[in-house]
């Protein structure tokens, strides 16, 4: 909670702060760092008041462009505060206050009602509430019976300002957390996806184990290779022979008769008797499709088909 952090009063005579809370601090600026104006304006919202703020300070400030404006609605008036943030930042740094360590910045004016007694600012000045306006006066003008007080956390107003660019960060807090959340979310997705991988592998492994249990003689990969190489040769050769027989059987049709077939390990030779030239041609076409060697038997329509296995 911002209001729980220590509140440091910032004034020009303040000492160098060597030790500030690492949890962060809030700062309250004295009028030495800002200019105020109270105006009764017929505006309803702060953003409307803020829009007209620069024109209110014309003539009061040297260069209104260097200033930033803070507005707050009071009972009857609008409180306008003009401040030079760069000057404030430089001052804070010169006093050992790291901008990154500052949570919120407030103006003494916001807590004017709580300044019931003077607050000493160094050895020479005091901050007092004069007719509801915070003012820095010389200490010596204070009346003798006036007992100075110190400010604490209870002086922290509700509305504060975050120091824009208080760190050298290129990315804002919101963007940082959004981006980090997205990146972490994707990381989680990738981790989960990665860890889920491998299910199929286990399934295949189980299937393999099951098959090996049924065929224990195939446990050894050498044995598997030896069996495979032995049977693959036979399988290829025998399939070829059967394919040839099947192809030749398709060449038996009306007018074409198989008269002989000799098939061994290396080759085959088949003779077909054809009733006429048309049948012979059809047969030769079929044989050509199968890329068999064809020869016409002399003085007949018969066809000899042969090939290597």
């Amino acid at each position: 909670m911002e209001n729980d952090k220590p509140l440091i009063l910032i004034h020009s005579q303040m000492k160098y702060l060597s030790d500030t809370s690492s949890e962060g601090v809030n700062i309250m600026l004295t009028p030495q760092f800002y200019t105020i104006k109270r105006e009764s304006l017929p505006v309803q919202y702060a953003y409307q008041a803020k829009r007209i703020a620069p024109s209110l300070f014309e003539g009061l400030l040297e260069n209104t462009q260097d200033y930033t404006y803070f507005v707050q609605k009071e009972e009857d008036d609008w409180l306008f505060i003009a401040y030079d943030i760069e000057k404030i930042k430089s001052f804070l740094i010169s006093k050992g206050l790291a901008l990154t360590n500052i949570s919120k910045m407030y103006f003494a004016e916001q807590s004017a009602a709580q300044f019931k007694a003077p607050v000493l600012l160094g050895d020479n000045n005091a901050l007092v509430n004069l007719n509801s306006t915070m003012t820095v006066i010389p200490k010596k003008v204070l009346q003798a019976d006036e007992k100075p007080m110190k400010i604490d956390k209870s002086f922290t107003p509700k509305k504060g300002l975050a120091l824009e660019g208080r760190s050298k960060a290129l990315i804002g807090n919101t963007e940082t957390y959004t981006l980090a959340t997205i990146l972490v979310l994707f990381s989680v997705i990738y981790f989960v996806e990665g860890s889920r991988y491998g299910g199929e592998d286990a399934e295949q492994e189980a299937q393999m184990q099951l098959l090996l249990e049924d065929y224990p003689s195939l446990q050894s990969s050498y044995k598997r290779e030896s069996i495979a190489s032995k049977y693959k040769v036979i399988d290829k050769k025998e399939r070829k022979k059967r394919d040839v027989i099947k192809s030749l059987s398709h060449m038996i049709f009306k007018g074409s008769t198989l008269t002989s077939l000799v098939l061994d390990d290396k080759s085959f030779q088949a003779n077909f008797a054809c009733k006429d030239a048309k049948t012979s041609k059809k047969l030769k076409d079929l044989a050509k499709k199968e890329k068999f060697n064809i020869s016409q038997i002399h003085k007949s329509h018969d066809v000899k088909i042969e090939g290597k296995l």
């Binding site: 690492s22 760190s167 290129l170 972490v184 199929e200 295949q204 693959k232 025998e238 008269t259």
Partner: protein, 135 residues
């Protein structure tokens, strides 16, 4: 945390989150490629095993002798000359009708034996078949 580090808190958070993402990505990619390669090895091993089993079932069939013996039942014994020695067969089928011839050829084609010789001759309307095979 030093002030310097604190100043770049946001960038550090984003860099750390990005690093986490990179690690997760590398982890996923690593796991994917490892698993893919393991899967492809497992797939090829499984495929190879299935193929060996299938080949063994066909060409190493222990009941093949019985199946070969059944060739004798296709035609009447008078048309057959049967000579089987262990896992080698020499058989002659004579005077086969077209139907008998077709049945015999289909049976022979479906037998997982190594055909050493198949000699078919047609004389008139009958077929003469000589078969030499081993298993």
């Amino acid at each position: 945390m030093t002030q310097q580090l604190k100043a770049y808190k946001n960038e550090i958070i984003v860099i750390l989150a990005f690093l986490l993402l990179l690690i997760a990505l590398v982890y996923k990619q690593g796991k994917t490629s490892t698993v893919n390669s393991a899967e492809s090895t497992a797939t090829s091993s499984l495929q190879e095993l299935k193929e060996v089993i299938a080949l063994k079932k066909v060409w190493g069939d222990k009941k093949i002798t019985k199946k070969v013996e059944k060739l004798q039942k296709i035609v009447s014994p008078s048309k057959i000359k049967w000579n089987r020695k262990g896992k080698k067969l020499t058989a002659t089928f004579t005077s086969l009708s077209s139907q008998e011839f077709n049945r015999l050829i289909v049976k022979i084609m479906n037998l997982a034996v190594e055909l050493q010789k198949l000699d078919v001759r047609k004389t008139g309307t009958s077929y003469h078949v000589e078969l030499k095979c081993k298993w």
